[in-house]
């Protein structure tokens, strides 16, 4: 059953998780930790999107909307109630609640119709929420977003372990302070949510979803209620996205339209899922890691390359860091043409032939 390609993919995913687990000790600067936390969050977000697009074959553009509900839920309560665990938990619950209401409403209204209608309706819903979030500035802080304090445990000044002098203990040169606790909060939440999803797609329910993707009419004929299953998976994916939003809000200590709701995040998620490989949870991990690393480091590299090429006509212009989304778009189109299964899917299939 397990071929070489699958083994390679799974090993690299486990390796990625191991690297993320030890990230604070391996890469000891602020920016790397930021990147690592973002990767953790996006793995969950992309994997939950993969439940929809890869496993069930429905295209939703409202995924950032649910992410935003979770983030704003925590952010608004942390702002009004002050730092603590109650607002985080209440915020998470509120976010999930609102997300579920929206998911059920959209699902029942539009999952009966064609995939394309659903895509358009979710796009419209998400853009309305985005506009509302930037207009209702008394509640959401408008375009500026909300800045607030995280629970005390996660403050950089918090000492997890102190030595005899009352100073923070250093382990391999890393201070055991609140920042580290915050990172591990993000990491373990992400890991737990990812494992839940992994368990879920292996369950009988997950198998039914794949059956619906492959042949809807047949699944219906066998006796599965397609609309109910689709709505259920839409709700599940919305719940997980919303929880990921809450975790991200606690980590960033800032929530605004750009970090939680914007259409750019939706495009990122879409790119990650397609690059990594649809229909495999593993692909979500690979896609998220590659895209975020590219976002943070490739642009610098392109800038350096562009400067190195000054004097040669056209090349510096083409390699300018601003052009990076252009190239990404082209790579994306080529990938959809030639490797519709993405990196993970292609690697797994490649092993099968050999």
């Amino acid at each position: 059953m397990q071929n070489t390609g699958t083994l390679i993919v799974k090993t690299s995913v486990i390796l990625i998780f191991a690297l993320l687990l030890f990230a604070p000790f391996l890469f000891q600067d602020v920016r790397s930790l930021e990147v690592a936390a973002r990767i953790c969050i996006f793995i969950v977000l992309v994997a939950s999107f993969d439940l929809l697009i890869g496993y069930t074959g429905i295209v939703s553009f409202a995924h950032t909307m649910f992410f935003g509900f979770g983030a704003y839920g925590a952010a608004i309560l942390l702002k009004t109630m002050g730092p603590g665990w109650t607002p985080v938990i209440l915020g998470a619950l509120a976010g999930v609640g609102v997300s579920l209401v929206f998911a059920i409403a959209i699902g029942l209204l539009s999952l009966r119709v064609k995939a394309i209608f659903f895509a358009m309706i979710t796009l419209a819903a998400a853009s309305v929420v985005l506009v509302l979030a930037s207009q209702l500035s008394q509640i959401t802080g408008g375009e500026d977003g909300i800045i607030y304090k995280a629970p005390d445990l996660f403050k950089p000044a918090t000492k997890l372990l102190t030595d005899a002098d009352g100073k923070v203990v250093r382990l391999w040169g890393v201070r055991l302070n609140g920042k580290l606790a915050a990172y591990y909060f993000v990491f373990f939440c992400a890991l737990a949510l990812f494992l839940v999803m992994l368990r879920f797609v292996g369950s009988p329910f997950g198998t039914v979803l794949k059956a619906i993707r492959e042949n809807e009419a047949r699944a219906e004929a066998i006796g599965y209620r397609v609309v109910a299953y689709r709505t259920a998976v839409f709700c599940l994916s919305a719940t997980i996205a919303s929880l990921a939003g809450t975790v991200y809000a606690v980590w960033l200590k800032y929530t605004g339209p750009d970090t939680a709701l914007s259409f750019a995040i939706m495009i990122d998620i879409l790119l990650m899922v397609v690059i990594g490989g649809m229909g495999t949870m593993w692909g979500a991990v690979i896609g998220a890691v590659l895209m975020i690393l590219a976002q943070y480091y490739l642009r610098d590299l392109m800038g350096a390359a562009s400067e190195a090429m000054t004097g040669i006509p056209l090349l510096p212009e083409l390699l300018a860091p601003d052009r990076w989304l252009f190239w990404l778009g082209i790579i994306f189109i080529l990938l959809v043409y030639f490797f519709p299964k993405g990196i993970a899917g292609t690697a797994m299939a490649w092993g099968e032939k050999a």
């Binding site: 419209a124 853009s127 309305v128 989304l325 778009g329 082209i330």
Partner: protein
């Protein structure tokens, strides 16, 4: 009740909806002069939206292809026409009415030509390989939209680009205490002209007959020996050209344009297409007018709800008629 329904149906049925919206708004707004101004603005916006949406709707009806990159044509149309107008700045600034009109016509022609060529390229290179695969269609056209938006960004930069407007379209007519912006009236008239032309082509010519038959039942038309795929390229090019023209007119209407304008308008265009029902230009016109009027009235009555109102309208209509008001596709 049934008698009422039949009377309504005979009087025009769902076609009366924009009228009903206008009447309700008249009562709510109270002041006739602002109502007239808003109505003209709504009708003008509706006609521009119609231009952008008609191609999308026909393309979907004929070939079951939904182009999420349609907004690229709108943006490109706007920027191409704005550049032509900037290039013909001399004509635009000239004191002669004829030269002004010529510059405007040239800019629209450039947008239409660009739309035709870009549409042909888009259809053959991007969409042809993914017929009948909705998921990959959505993904690929999204990718194409990203590339197109970035291309505009590379050529014209990210700062808002200002668009020239010929002098004879500036200002407004004042009738009593009602003021009507000339550009809006012009946009409305041009939109109506295009609609009439489209309607005549679709209903009075042989090509139009084939297009309508293809929307209804493509396999049957193909079985009778017609090449629907060739027809489809033509419709796609026409739709792209109309979207580019719509973008060009929208650019003159807004006078400041950014590379994101297409993506922003796209949401409204989708709502129009969904409300109207896919595949019919009459439905698209109805949806466009409804959305145009609705956003102007609500924008006046409760500014914060402007975009949400379109969404609510869409939900209400989908609950009432799940396939839109006048669908041609079953």
């Amino acid at each position: 009740m049934t008698a009422l329904t039949t009377t309504l149906g005979r009087a025009g049925g769902v076609n009366l909806l924009p009228l009903a919206v206008a009447l309700i708004a008249f009562v709510l707004i109270g002041a006739p002069s602002s109502w007239v101004t808003l109505t003209v603005a709504g009708l003008a916006m509706g006609m521009m939206l119609f231009l952008m949406a008609s191609g999308l709707s026909l393309v979907f009806g004929l070939m079951d292809v939904l182009n999420f990159g349609h907004s690229a044509f709108v943006s490109f149309g706007a920027f191409v026409s704005a550049s032509v107008l900037a290039g013909l700045g001399g004509w635009l600034a000239a004191d002669s009415w004829a030269l002004n009109a010529l510059a405007l016509a040239a800019s629209y022609l450039a947008a239409i030509l660009f739309g035709l060529i870009a549409g042909w390229f888009f259809e053959t290179v991007i969409i042809r390989p993914v017929y009948r695969d909705h998921l990959r269609q959505i993904l690929i056209t999204i990718g194409a939209m990203i590339v197109a938006e970035q291309t505009i960004l590379a050529f014209w930069g990210g700062t808002p680009y200002s668009v020239g407007r010929p002098a004879f379209l500036e200002g407004s007519w004042i009738i009593g205490d009602v003021s009507i912006e000339i550009y809006r009236a012009f946009a409305f008239a041009l939109g109506v002209a295009v609609f009439v032309m489209l309607y005549l082509v679709l209903n009075r010519t042989r090509i139009g007959l084939l297009i309508r038959a293809g929307v209804e039942d493509r396999e049957m038309v193909e079985a009778l020996g017609f090449r629907v795929d060739r027809l489809f390229i033509g419709v796609f090019m026409l739709g792209s050209a109309l979207a580019a023209l719509g973008g060009a007119m929208w650019a003159g209407y807004e006078t400041l344009i950014t590379p994101h304008m297409g993506a922003d308008l796209m949401i409204v265009v989708f709502i129009v297409v969904i409300i109207g029902g896919l595949g019919s230009i009459e439905g698209t016109l109805l949806g466009a007018l409804l959305v145009g009027l609705m956003s102007n009235y609500v924008g006046f009555l409760a500014p914060k709800l402007a975009l949400a109102s379109n969404m609510i309208l869409m939900v209400a209509i989908l609950l009432w008629r799940p396939n839109g008001l006048r669908p041609a596709v079953k």
